[in-house]
Amino acid sequence: MAQTRKQDSLPVARVKEASIKFINNVSKVIVSKRETIELVLAALLCEGHVLIEDVPGIGKTMLAKAVAKSLGCSFKRIQSTPDLLPSDITGIHYYNQKTSDFEFRPGPIVAIIVLVDEINRATPRTQSCLLEGMQERQITVDLETIPLPRPFLVIATQNPVELEGTFPLPEAQLDRFLLRVSLGYPSEDEEATILLRFQQENPLDSLSSVINAGELLELQRLCRQIYVEDSVRDYAVAISRATRSHQAIKLGASPRASLGLHLASQSLAAIRGRNYVIPDDVKYLTKHVLCHRLILKTEARLRRHSIEVILDEIISAVPVPVEDKL
């Protein structure tokens, strides 16, 4: 063999090793939800925000806290309530009598990991103050623009069932979440394991950090080096574009969604120890990246079609780039 390509697998090995450590660490608290943890990690590795949506008592907040603790970065929690104000999140300028000047007191958004618990309980006005921070990694308070620390990750939770006293997230807000994940009910054995694990003490208390902020930035940089072949990139774009022309969908995926799909595929490939993205990565992530961004037409909703089923239709209609001439 004249030429054998030596793959530069060392950076990917680093990502894979760190991913295994991270997933194992979070799994000490969250039982048998490795796929969900992997998805959350994929989002973190491309500096994307995560929306954890599920019914109460499933472990949404626990997952968010375990992720934050495993990262060992500055962590702030925002408990969303209807009376929460934008300034409670961004911070305020207060008058310091010692210095006789106005000084800025940063709010909880000025942290590396921000957990916004029950995000849909905050009013739209308060929800909107997260928009600038989530997209541009900066906040503007009293005409002053304050850059947020890097990496900056928002993990939000919401309960999709209970609608009393909640405000549905607007599309602009939803579009800023890279992934929406849900945990689902545990199986019988898993539930028994949960009871056993929490019998003595909360395992979250003894959870240690396995990745620090500097390492996370480095891992994010390595993930951006994952190779995406042109046809795979075209495949991701084709899926996104197909959502815009589907007859049952009122609002299709935005270019930000396509970008998110591309970035998340890179991260997932790195987590799984590959230095290239394959169509399976794109396919696997499509539902998690696109589901929360699409809006069904009224007639489709009345026919009880769900976004998941429509996305399955779209995925099954978009050809995967493989050998076309047999």
Partner: protein
Amino acid sequence: MRISGYQTILYGAVAGIEICWLYVVIDTLNKKVAWGMLSVFGLLLIYPLSFGFSFLLKRRRWYRGVIYSLSWILWLAVMLFSIKSQLYADFRLLDFDWLLALSRAIAEIIYIFRPEILILIVSAVLWWLGQRLASLELDFGTLVSEFQFGLIILVATYLVAKELGVALTHSVYVTMFFFVFSLLGLSISYALEGISWLSGLYRGHWSGPLLISIGLILALGLLISAVVTPDLLQLLLTAIKWLWGFILKGINFLISLLPEPSLPSGGALPSEPMPTPPPEPDWPKLFNMPDSVRNSLRISWSVMAIGFLIFALWRISSDIFSWLRHKLASRADAEFEPLSGAFAADVLNLVKRLVKWLLGLRLRQRARKGFSLPEVHSVRRIYRQLLRWARDAGYPRLPSQTPHEYCHNLVSLLPEANADLELITHQYVGMRYGFSLPTEDELHHLTLSWYRVRQNNLKKKKPR
């Protein structure tokens, strides 16, 4: 609605800026269209009138439509009054002849631009500007926009007036007042936003320093105009010419230090009649020197130039980094941490990344070329054969199936060929999406796997 003293000054400054450029524009139009028969100051009175009226109306909590209607009705009255007073002063107010003249002027607008039309347009513009001023939020940004717009209009009008041969009156004073109003408005608005020295200790005593500054600038301007005479300018010009000649000589000398292009050794070109060389200037004779010295000087010069360049780059970058660090340090809650050697580390990091990027680019190009390599061809051929074989057996790959999904399907049909099917798929996926080329051994195993897979009869199998 009450306005503070500062706001009053800002309103005055904006009005002053606008009146200055409006004066120049109206004066030009007046001289070109109305042969200078209109009173420019009389027309400009419409502007404060409109502002005052709009400002008063703003205090009333009436519907906006009512306010606008009232305002424009008043404009109509003011416009008619202006025409009457400026053009038909001899006519009685109730004499309708002048109204007929106005209607005739409007009807003939296509053929001739009469002074009545000029008053109509100018009064409308002035009225609108007055209204606009009353509803303007006066801040630094607005003042800057007003200044920029006014300056452009002023300069453009001067140019147009020059081209049209219109002699403008009071242009020096108008320009001076324009800058005085602009400076006044800009400085106060800047101070009010709390971003200047006026916002600190001297906030309460801003007017003194400001007036002194303006006075000093004006005094300096007068002094310069008194001192700078044509003779002095001529002297300066001669000095600059002499200095430039000296610099040119120096540059010529430095150019002579560079190596001259040497002709190739073989095949000399046919000689052409050479033009008579110009007489050499006297100065090179002063610098005659042996070649060895000239070469040494050349090297020293090159080293010095490169050194200067690197030093300048380093100095600029250091200043930028230092400025950034101080900027960060001045932020609330920020910690200032001097990082010794950080700049060198940054530069090294940049070079490393550049080299990595170039290497990566080369690898990609090689990988793309890899598609035509024999091992790529082999892997693709085997996978195509597998697809054809499965299709002929009645299990074609669906267009939306990925290689791994299809492999999973085939494995469910042929569990005994699990390892072989996965190997073929794995090699194909690696090559197709990751330019991962198989080694000689891997290719051998791949061929064997395909050989083993096709021994099975897929048609007889049923999915489990």
